[in-house]
Assembly symmetry: C2
Homo-oligomer: 407 residues x 2
């Protein structure tokens, strides 16, 4: 038996049961927000402006919570909506609205527009693709660079094809590559000519404050740049407290131009009498202000940075000199992207699964679950305790080595 | 000046500012649930089955909360979903799903079905109409009887026309008439032949436990009757804790056949990673069980039954012998329906508004805001304190008398 094969047999014999699949916070991270479980407190239900948060109403959401998140999401408070517990839901529903009612600037609703396609920079987030696949929106892939999507390719596509109505972006600490869009990329997205007059940027700023180093990176202000370029309605901005406070019981945000927000409010008023404002009050009381938010995120960093460091260390020890194996070292976000020689990703994921280490399916970072190179594996190290991350990554290393040895 | 005209001038001079427009709970009703504001409590986040409610996941919602509501909503626990804070949102979104993906038994998704129409029993709930109007679903009106919709007319319509895909029903203490569907009406709805194989009953059981008298009325079990009649997938059942615990921070429910719930879960999994389970835990801890729910509703009744009694008393004192003026005396729910001679409703609402008493716009109880008889006024007495309900109703009486005198 070869050395890698023997190591793999040993790994299997260990009977591990570990999971690096999804970007979920760990119990320790959730513990940071346990005070929320007793808030707002009996007798506390008035917002700063005197609203009884217990009753119906208030589609925009509580101002004090929107004020805390307006700076980091780079949206003026008056144009930022706080909603319920899922930004994915907001993204899905804004596209449903666009399919069924013309977005500002649209010649028709997208359901009557024939083909509708979105650009998907790859690798990217599988749930973005899932929303489009479910709604019948085609996906056109474009490669990612170290600075964001390949803008030459994006500009070429959107200039010619009016059926391309949008692009998915995770502009800071992108899922899964950890890419931070350069100012130049943001400027080009804001100002590029598009054949579709109703083109939208789905700006999923999911990791706006999720730094892994003291280098707290900032990105350019898309909303202002788009307005300055004469495209004020182009950005739809999304954010969420799911990976800040409680993953399942947080608050999601939607922002954009006044026209976009008015359009959204008008349509949403037909389906809801307002978001859970008690939860808004709860979250605002807990985070207090932008400084409180920053301090809270520093506590997250203390818990998860060592896990990312372990991933980096184990990969570097094994593959620093291995051609064809590379990985990202993100300065924020929730993921590490591991690139292996073409054709090996799904084999490595299979080997790991057999050895009790569950990884995100190879291909999940691409539309329709198909990575044409079969080369990218997304690693999500936040959920398991540090020692399990180390064990799981040692297992991944063994699987990569076995796959490489078999080539 | 006539006597009614003089009384109206006096009313205007009083400078009232009262509101009987919407079915909102009062502050005192919300106070009944103030314990929720401190729940689940720091350190409390595990559900009965050990789930960490703080994290992502669990599309069905917490079992312990679904168990509390399964009996009153007449849906087996396994087929009852607990979601976020709005049943209106669930109704809207289930129709969006039906437009974009075939419901079980449908030959095509409704977006590709040409005309889609729903039956709207009138008078009914304006927000139901608003959802259909927003989604391009036509509304066909059918009259209400004391036992529910006019079933001869409903059966005639659905037997012939495959474009009629559904009917809106508030089967218990209906909005605004307080009608409780008879067993025979429920049986006919469950078993009637429909030209559309994908016909759905939107069973908005909003007032399932909202009794105003000790006569706690029950309705027939639609889901079982429909299954027995060979139409298991016909009912979509909805419920909500909004008028039980906190109006804006409650939990909404969706139920139906296993096929319907599977369909819903599959589509919803594309837009959300799950509902706010911490709120499910909070509500379950507060209500404890079906008996706790019943006791809680008795406390609501104690607060609001006197308001309904005041409406009844003031109307009876003024109009017991007036031809053409009648009103409902509901045994539950949130509304009283006042019928005036044809053509007078909007005039009375206008007069009341000028005198500082805001009523639901005349016509709101009909699709497109148009009551062809202009005869029905919906009164919502729960929100204002009792003395204000009395003052507002005295004002309404004056306005009705003035309008009658001017005929």
């Amino acid at each position: 038996m070869t050395e890698p094969a023997a190591a793999y047999e040993e790994l299997k014999a260990a009977g591990l049961k570990l999971d690096l699949t999804r970007g979920k916070p760990s119990s320790e991270q959730l513990d940071l927000s346990n005070a929320l479980l007793g808030l707002p407190g009996v007798g506390e239900y008035r917002s700063a402006d005197g609203t009884d948060t217990r009753n119906y109403g208030g589609l925009l959401g509580l101002p004090e919570l929107r004020e805390i998140f307006a700076p980091s999401l780079q949206v003026p408070v008056g144009q930022l909506v706080a909603w319920n517990n899922s930004s994915l839901e907001l993204m899905h529903d804004v596209l449903v609205h666009a399919l069924l009612s013309p977005v500002p600037g649209a010649p028709a609703r997208w359901a009557d527009a024939g083909r509708v396609a979105f650009i998907a920079p790859v690798p990217g987030y599988d749930r973005h693709y899932g929303v489009c696949e479910r709604l019948g929106i085609d996906l056109v892939t474009v490669g990612m660079t170290a600075d964001g999507p390949d803008m030459d390719e994006v500009e070429r596509l959107v200039a010619d094809d009016p059926s391309i109505k949008g692009i998915w972006c995770v502009p800071k600490y992108s899922n899964p590559d950890g890419v931070v869009y350069s100012d130049e990329v943001v400027r080009r997205l804001a100002s590029m000519p598009t054949a579709a007059p109703d083109f939208r940027i789905m700006w999923d700023n999911a990791y706006a404050v999720h730094h892994l180093t003291s280098d707290e990176l900032e990105i350019a202000d898309l909303l202002t740049l788009a307005a300055d370029a004469g495209n004020p309605d182009r950005p739809f901005v999304f954010g969420s407290t799911s990976k800040i406070t409680l993953a399942g019981a947080g608050v999601a945000f939607f922002g954009g131009s006044e026209a976009n927000v008015d359009w959204w409010l008008k349509l949403t008023s037909k389906k809801s009498i307002g978001p859970d404002k008690v939860n808004h009050l709860r979250q605002a009381m807990f985070l207090t202000d932008a400084a409180g938010l920053r301090a809270h995120m520093a506590a997250h960093r203390e818990l998860i940075a060592p896990k990312f460091a372990a991933v980096e260390r184990l990969l570097a020890e094994a593959f620093a000199d291995t051609e064809g194996v590379s990985w990202t070292t993100p300065k924020g976000g929730y993921f590490v992207s591991l690139t292996v020689p073409d054709g090996l990703a799904s084999e490595i994921v299979r080997l790991a699964k057999e050895a009790g280490v569950v990884l995100t399916p190879a291909g999940a970072t691409h539309p329709y679950g198909k990575d044409p190179q079969d080369a990218i594996i997304r690693l999500a190290p936040t959920l398991p305790p540090l020692d399990e991350v180390e064990k799981a990554m040692a297992g991944v290393v063994t699987c990569v080595q076995l796959a490489l040895s078999r080539r």
